[in-house]
């Protein structure tokens, strides 16, 4: 199941929450595991079996690694680590590159269990003895399908010791609602515009719009989903770090990657970059480390060559900033540097959405004059989506949250408290109503009269 569905919003989530809050504390984790498996089963019942076996396998591996470590068989522990990590990676790779029906969320699942194995081996934490807690760590439904990729060390304590209080429930609920709005009202609508653009011939305007639409769609889709995931987790008492931090406000590409899909960046840093020596080695080795990380980042995202190019493309800019530019542009106006970073990221996304390298290059060529100026479709999309585009661009900045805080938390215009509460709540309820209408609207399928 996905969060942005009527059934989840109106049936699954309310029931899950009620059960969770009435059940005795010692049963809460078991309940969450059952809910998570049900949630997973909703999309693909067969994958549940995979999820269960993969969880148990890694549960056993973790205990074995810890046992060997404690009894000072470090070499043997390393062997078990390599064997089980390889098993996970080979499984992921074979699903991703050979079979076409990868269980949903498997890329995220694999990184989640790898984090556990590495943390146990590196003695950041002990192994999880309680199988229910362990399965909950890997299968917790808010983060199961699309992350955030929570490292085991960050979640371990919360598995046994967390407080699910109404404060968190409400906080989480509001964050979920904001994420839902991003996904349903912005990302999905932008996606429809992007699809229209894809039907037309290439043009300068069309290519630029495609890049902008896709950049915005991807951001609101993914960050919206992350907000929903983090919000939901909070409703069940878990606190995770944010996964996006206004990435399109970044001044450099390196900064962009500290703000975009933060949990993935941290994962690579923790388990790939640092173990290879990180930045505390010679320049040549830093270069190697960065290239490895970016190559892996590309491969992780998808199974075509375009993703490899995309990963190395970003890696190239990060390396360039580190070794060549070295802050030489720091004096430039911030707006200009932000724009340049967005453009670099945007051109990168073209490789992300294009099926082949030549088709990506054609879009880029069109952007810089290799096509007619505009098609009717491009103008039509620009006119139809203008308001949405402006709203989305504002949504990429902290302006909305700044405004909300000024108006509703600080009450800077000094409204009557009741009026203030009424407006704020009406706005949020309005958001929920619009999301509901949009979700139902997407299930609207009028059968064209068969006898036309």
């Amino acid at each position: 199941m996905v969060f942005n569905s009527i059934y989840f919003l109106f049936v699954f989530l309310p029931i899950a929450l009620v059960l969770y809050y009435v059940i005795p504390a010692r049963l809460k984790n078991l309940l969450l595991v059952i809910i998570s498996f049900l949630f997973y089963a909703w999309g693909s019942p067969k994958s549940v079996i995979f999820l269960l076996f993969a969880s148990l396998f890694n549960y056993a591996s973790g205990i074995e690694i810890e046992h060997l470590k404690i009894s000072r068989h470090t070499d043997a522990a390393m062997k078990v680590l390599i064997a089980s990590a390889s098993a996970n990676i080979v499984l992921l790779a074979s699903f991703k590159y050979i079979f076409d029906d990868m269980p949903v969320g498997m890329s995220f699942f694999t990184f989640t269990v790898l984090s556990y194995l590495f943390d146990v081996y590196g003695e950041r934490t002990g192994a999880q003895r309680n199988p229910v807690n362990f399965i909950l760590y890997v299968s917790f439904f808010p983060k199961l399908l699309s992350g955030p990729i929570v490292q085991y060390a960050d979640m371990e304590a919360q598995l046994t010791n967390r407080k699910a209080d109404p404060d968190k429930l409400m906080d989480g609920g509001v964050l979920f609602l904001v994420g839902l709005g991003k996904k349903v009202l912005l990302a999905d609508a932008l996606g429809a515009g992007f699809a229209l653009l894809g039907q037309a011939e290439n043009s300068i305007l069309g290519a630029w719009l495609m890049m902008i639409f896709y950049s915005l769609q991807l951001y609101f889709d993914f960050s919206g989903y992350s907000d929903m995931a983090i919000g939901l987790s909070k409703m069940f008492g878990f606190e995770f770090e944010k996964n996006f931090d206004y990435p399109y406000m970044s001044l450099t590409v390196s900064e962009f990657w500290r703000r975009w899909h933060i949990s993935l960046g941290n994962w690579f840093k923790q388990y790939v970059y640092f173990p290879m020596g990180g930045s505390r080695v010679s320049d040549v080795l830093i270069l190697r480390n960065l290239l490895v990380v970016w190559l892996l980042t590309g491969i992780w995202h998808g199974n075509t060559f375009c993703f490899v190019v995309w990963g190395l493309y970003h890696g190239a800019f990060v390396i360039l900033e580190r070794f060549v530019i070295k802050g030489r542009f720091d004096g430039f106006p911030k707006a200009l540097r932000r724009l340049a970073t967005c453009l670099i990221a945007g051109i990168g996304w073209i490789f992300f959405f294009s099926p082949t390298i030549p088709s990506a290059l054609r879009v880029i060529l069109s952007m810089f004059g290799g096509a007619a100026f505009a098609t009717r479709t491009a103008v039509y999309v620009l006119r139809s989506y203008f308001i949405l585009l402006v709203l989305s661009l504002i949504g990429c900045t902290p302006f909305g949250s700044f405004l909300w805080n000024r108006l509703f938390a600080e009450n800077n215009i000094g409204l009557n408290e009741h009026v203030l509460a009424f407006i704020a709540v009406a706005l949020r309820l309005g958001l929920l109503i619009l999301c509901t209408a949009s979700l139902l609207g997407s299930t609207y399928t009028s059968f064209l009269y068969f006898k036309f």
Binding site: L9, M170, S384, L391, A437, S438, S446, F452
Partner: protein, 403 residues
Amino acid sequence: MNSSETQIPESRAARRRKNRILREQKRRRRLNYITGLVCALFIIVFTALSALTPDKTFSANENRNLSQRPAISVDGLMRGSFFSDTATHFSDQFASRDRWISLKLAYDKLIGMKESHDVYLGRDHYLLQKTVEPDTKALDDIANAVNSFASLHSGLSTRMLVVPCAAAVLPDKLPGSAPVRDQAADIDAFGQKLSGVTFTNASEALKSSNDSRNLFYRTDHHWTSYGARTVYEKCAPGLGIDAPVTEFDEYLLSETFLGTLGSQSGSFRRRDTIEIYVPKGCPNYYVYYADQGKTVSSLYVRDKLNEKDQYQVFLGGNHPIVEIHTAAGTGKSLLIFKDSYANSFIQYLVPHYDTIIMIDPRYYFNRLDNVIQANGITDVLFLYSANTLLADHSLSVCLNASA
């Protein structure tokens, strides 16, 4: 916070700052709580309403059966269909579903969207179908099939009439910059491929109409009786009609017609009127529906006005073959290959032929020779809307099967 709670007396400013932060936190919390309660209430109310109201079986607006509560079965659980069916059942039976759809459309319009589910939301409440991309390969097949039909039956006068869609005729009704093909050119390009056939492109006739507002329904993809009449009057020579009727009796059949485009786009509010124009001095006739084995004395099927698709009032919708026998006494008999656009055009042809045989190649799979001989056919007309013809696959199959 902890640092300000040391034993040293706080400065007044620090205390004020602390109070302000506390106040903001309190306010934020209060807003979250009220939001949470209101939203929870909203969700509970709609879930309860959806669950408690009896399931509907059919949606008239969507013209489809709504999904029903799935039965639990091992097979359904294993394959996952039980889960997806449960979710679909809930959204199909959601309380006030149609109102939610309307709300979504209203919101889309508000933020400037100019189409909904592939239908243009045009000016003056026009809903317009998008122009079809011509299917070159299929068009060559059709042209070849029509040409060989014409040469095989060189004794018959073979004609073709192709009607553009509303978006091509009424560009000023399209929403701003909406991409639309030059359908008149598409139709002409097709006409170029024909030989031995008198070809008529209805674009000019429709575009030059004095009353362009009534040529097409606003909520349906068909032309109106008035649109059909306009083409009948202006294109008569090309259709082999020397003296078209000029006077008609006008009747209003319905003011509650919600057409396919209304349904497809989810805009249910606006309704169309259906009018008919009966030629003055129309001869007596009867209509025989072979598929139903039924004979009636009218082209119009009033019962269909009580159904969703009121356009079916014309000849009861589409049938594989319909025979019309008249007392016109002109000595001419017509065979029409057609789509649904012809249904509202037939009313003008009745005075000009003794027999009219309508064949819809999408549903007709028998040989044509018998039909042509048995009815003494003298004229053949292919009557299509461009949106059907330019992507059609059935006409060439039908003609070739009989060749």
